[in-house]
């Protein structure tokens, strides 16, 4: 019950936060909105030869980065605030993406290579006679969205319920999550699963009747993504600043003590895990129409663990650190893989080592320490564990 109460409180606080964004982080929301709006305007209004023109490729790239930022936030919520290192969040992301992919696949209709009005191309290719039952209804946008949230949410709930109830924590839990996404990857690679096997779902034509290749659609998708990133950010911040959030941080720092104080810690963890999985799923849903493909590779353990390093670079337990980290690392990846494809894995590997050994709080930690030195706000004592910059009193490492 205390969870429900806390959720109710959290929602009222969300409204408050919308009206009066907290100090220290509102700049991020501002910058995000201004930049994306400026990019959109530059793409749509300026002629292509103008020096300020932003290409559609850049728009799409930005949209992709923001999807990753959202995924990073989802990981940060469970890892940074609750000490659950999930190495399998890519699974929820990909499941959300497959939900959207199925909808987009059905929208192709008879414009596919084989021109079959009901069956996607890969099913015709495999000589399937009719649509599998789980594809029914996916041509309805609302139903597809609903399923793309329901499936990852249920998976997170069942997995979390099983794992947290039996107090699987720490390293065990991390490897279990990795095993989860690994198993899903193996499963989705199978043609018999009915999700396009190796090739996944691709060749999308339009979404809600709008052409996916059109500039306006791309810009609209970017704006929707930005809006949802901001919304998620505010909602998540409200949650972690609420009473619920304080219990969650307590679970991270001393789970046994919190339990002895009478909190059902596993309930908090399960719901937080489900919330995080839903955010990841939404990120996946936004990712697919912009990138134009979803395949089982998204389930690969490497993808999930990369997300964790974005969060680590930005600084965990800060939310904005996750966004910054995701944007920075992905920008670096785009540049690096274009210049020296072979060196990227070296760089990524080195990043893992350097950040964990020398920068345990990431860039946000550096930044936070700098601002702390500059402003030295008086401690109220009451809100010690969850200040805006997210630097908790507890030691890093759960």
């Amino acid at each position: 019950m205390s969870v429900l109460n806390s959720l109710a409180q959290a929602s009222s606080r969300l409204l408050a936060a919308m009206r009066q964004p907290g100090r220290g982080t509102s700049w991020l929301v501002g910058i995000l909105l201004v930049v994306t709006l400026a990019m959109s305007a530059a793409n749509l209004l300026l002629p292509a030869d103008s020096p300020f023109y932003v290409s559609t490729y850049t728009i799409t790239l930005m949209g992709k980065y923001l999807c990753f930022a959202m995924l990073a936030m989802a990981v940060d919520i469970v890892w940074g605030y609750c000490g659950i290192l999930s190495l399998g969040h890519g699974a929820f992301f990909a499941l959300g993406g497959y939900g959207m992919g199925m909808y987009l696949m059905r929208q192709i209709g008879d414009r596919g290579v084989y021109g079959n009005p009901d069956l996607p191309d890969f099913m015709v290719f495999l000589n399937w006679q009719e649509l599998p039952w789980y594809w029914f209804g996916m041509d309805q946008f609302w139903f597809a969205i609903f399923m793309a949230l329901l499936v990852p949410g249920t998976l997170a709930f069942v997995f979390g319920w099983l794992a947290f109830r039996s107090r699987v924590t720490g390293v065990y839990l991390s490897i279990m999550t990795q095993a989860l996404t690994y198993a899903l990857m193996l499963a989705f690679f199978r043609n018999e699963m009915g999700f396009g096997g190796n090739n996944g779902l691709t060749d999308f034509k339009d979404i809600l009747g709008f052409d996916l290749q059109a500039d306006a659609t791309r810009v609209a998708l970017l704006l929707v993504t930005t809006f949802l990133v901001v919304l998620t950010f505010l909602a998540s911040r409200t949650i972690v600043q609420s009473r619920l959030g304080r219990v969650i941080v307590a679970v991270r720092d001393a789970e046994a003590r919190t339990r002895f104080l009478g909190y059902r810690t596993e309930h908090y963890k399960v719901w937080l895990f489900v919330y995080s999985a839903l955010i990841a799923a939404v990120a996946g849903m936004l990712y697919v129409p912009q990138v134009g493909i979803i395949n089982p590779g998204e389930f690969s353990p490497l993808n999930s663990i990369e997300v964790v390093v974005w969060v680590a670079v930005g600084g965990r337990g800060t939310l904005y650190g996750a966004i910054v980290g995701a944007l920075l690392v992905n920008y670096a990846k785009t540049r690096f893989t274009a210049l020296m494809p072979d060196a990227w894995l070296f760089a990524l590997g080195a990043l893992f080592v350097i950040v964990t050994v020398y920068l345990p709080r990431g860039l946000a930690g550096l930044f936070g320490r700098a601002t702390e030195l500059m402003y030295r706000r008086p401690d109220t004592g009451k809100d010690k564990t969850t200040r805006d910059d997210g630097l908790s009193v507890a030691e890093v490492g759960a």
């Binding site: 000490g83 290192l85 190495l87 997995f159 099983l162 794992a163 109830r165 039996s166 107090r167 699987v168 924590t169 720490g170 390293v171 065990y172 991390s174 490897i175 279990m176 990795q178 095993a179 989860l180 690994y182 198993a183 193996l186 499963a187 690679f189 199978r190 046994a256 353990p301 663990i305 964790v308 390093v309 680590a312 072979d342 894995l345 070296f346 990524l348 590997g349 080195a350 990043l351 893992f352 080592v353 950040v355 964990t356 050994v357 345990p360 890093v396 490492g397 759960a398």
Partner: protein, 543 residues
């Protein structure tokens, strides 16, 4: 060899004086007759060749075996000018290299115009096969005898039966005798009209695994004209017994595959079990230690191409050293700085695994490397017609058990082992007692990584050696450790074999991927019941 050639020539001279194909030649004593028959081979018609083969067998017996083999392979030629019979190997460049039929002496190159093939057709080939079987049965080694009888089971004509009886009288034992009895029973069942005799024959055949037996019984059961119902019922019963045994051996084979997979899992997991048990950290680069071991094998084979047979013996200590020292470096360089932060250790070691993979990709190539299997590891141990085990899997199974035993000895008997156990049970207390925990950590990590390297040597014999070799093992290894219970080697042993066997028994009914998933899900559920694994470490910790 030269002596034989000499003989051939002298016979040729003698033959010049005799009219060819004279009846006299056949009635002459065996030794000379074989040579004279040989002289008729060049240019003989197919029909005539058949007769000649029979005469050669009578005259030469086992001595003629190489000739028949060469002939069966279609490599028997004669030199047009001298009528000399030779064996020819055609090369890719369409040259013809001659060698002596009865030995390996090279006779130089020939052009296609100098020589002519001694033709064989399908009828002759089957005659040759029969002849070879006969020679093997009467004169060959035990293995050759066995194979000859097995070949005859498919075609039990009177001639073959007479031969088998002769062989039996000349004294055979064990497996060969059993097969000959079986053949006799099969003939009895086929030819006899007396019910009792046939039932007796079925009694002998019941439960025998040779395919010919099964086919005959199956035909009998399906034969609508078979009036003797008792015989038919008995045949059905015998068939049932055979299928039962085949199923049993099928299960046994599954079990062996499971144990083989289990031994691989054990090898991969045991190093992880040590490091995880002692330090509480997961080394995500553990799989890459396995990969390094496999690449060490490859490098050793490249360095000593002449000693492939011993390459694995050299590779085992070399891989231990390579992976072990890389492991110590990782511990000293990175993990030491992350003391008490196991989750960060996962990330850092994952980074190291990426670097190692990319390094191998850059140094060697992204493609798989060819690791040679020494001859003593290839082939298989045939136990009966439906069950055989390959040597490489068998040796790796034994090797895994040996490594396990060695590790147990190290941990139980050496001072390092004592320290390792002390630190894994209570780090602070061990430290207070004067154990140099830092040293123990480094040594443990080196040991665990070294064993992973050794596992890599074994794996190089089973799977492709490529940069991604280790990647897939980290999850499986961890599952084994979790299943068995942390800090417990026996648990790792039981865990490895039970996961391997479970996987292989699920595979036929649902496919490899689904079996993998089921095992994974089963494990997650298992942890619900026994969070500390099969053999939990006893202690008083609150969590």
């Amino acid at each position: 060899m030269n002596a034989l050639l000499h003989k051939l020539w002298s016979v040729a001279i003698v033959l010049l004086l005799l009219p060819t194909g004279s009846p006299l030649a056949q009635s002459e004593p065996a030794g000379i007759s074989a040579d004279s028959v040989l002289q008729q081979l060049p240019g003989a018609s197919l029909k005539k060749t058949g007769e000649l083969i029979g005469q050669l067998e009578q005259a030469g017996g086992a001595e003629m075996r190489p000739l028949f083999e060469v002939m069966l392979a279609g490599e028997l030629y004669f030199v047009k000018e001298s009528k000399q019979i030779i064996a020819i190997t055609k090369t890719e460049r369409r040259t013809y290299i001659g060698r002596d039929v009865f030995g390996k002496a090279a006779l130089g190159e020939f052009t296609s115009r100098e020589i002519k093939k001694i033709r064989v057709n399908n009828r002759l080939r089957s005659q040759l096969r029969e002849t070879l079987a006969r020679i093997d049965l009467l004169h060959g080694s035990k293995l050759a005898q066995k194979q000859a009888v097995l070949a005859m089971l498919d075609d039990l004509n009177d001639k073959n039966m007479r031969l088998l009886t002769t062989a039996q009288q000349s004294g055979v034992d064990g497996e060969v005798a059993r097969l000959i009895d079986l053949a006799a029973a099969m003939v009895q069942l086929r030819d006899s009209r007396v019910s009792e005799e046939r039932l007796e024959a079925i009694g002998v055949m019941s439960g025998q695994l040779e395919p010919a037996v099964r086919n005959q019984l199956q035909r009998l059961v399906n034969d609508a004209q078979e009036q003797d119902l008792a015989v038919r019922a008995a045949a059905q019963k015998a068939l049932d017994k055979i299928s039962e045994r085949i199923e049993f051996f099928g299960q046994l084979e599954q079990l062996f595959f499971g144990l083989s997979l289990g031994s691989v899992l054990l090898l991969a997991a045991i190093g992880l079990a040590i490091t995880f048990g002692v330090m509480g950290v997961i080394n995500m680069a553990h799989g890459e230690m396995i990969m390094l071991g496999a690449y060490t094998t490859y490098v050793i084979q490249q360095l000593f191409p002449g000693a492939i047979a011993y390459s694995l013996l050299i590779a085992v200590p070399a891989a231990f050293l390579v992976s072990g020292s890389v492991g110590v470096l990782i511990e000293r360089g990175v993990i030491r700085h992350l003391q008490g932060r196991p989750l960060e250790t996962i990330l850092a070691t994952f980074g190291i695994s990426l670097i190692l993979q990319q390094a191998v990709r850059s140094i060697f190539s992204p493609l798989n490397m060819q690791v040679v299997t020494p001859s003593w590891m290839s082939g298989s141990l045939v136990i009966n017609p439906v069950f055989s085990v390959t040597y490489n899997r068998l040796y790796i199974l034994l090797f895994a058990l040996a490594i396990f035993a060695a590790l147990v000895v190290v941990l139980k008997k050496s001072s390092l082992g004592l320290n390792v156990r002390a630190v894994s049970q209570n780090r602070d207390m061990a430290k207070a007692m004067g154990v140099r925990t830092e040293m123990v950590d480094a040594m443990t990590f080196g040991l665990g990584s070294g064993i992973a390297g050794v596992a890599g040597v074994a794996l190089s014999q089973l799977t492709n050696v490529g940069p991604n070799l280790g990647q897939s093992y980290i999850i499986d290894s961890f599952m084994v450790v979790v299943f068995g219970g942390v800090g417990n080697l026996l648990g790792t042993l039981v865990g490895g074999f039970s996961l391997g066997v479970a996987n292989k028994f699920l595979e036929p009914s649902m496919g490899a991927v689904l079996a993998n998933i089921i095992v994974l899900v089963g494990l997650i559920l298992f942890i619900q019941k026994r969070p500390k694994g099969l053999f939990p470490q006893r202690g008083r910790a609150a969590e």
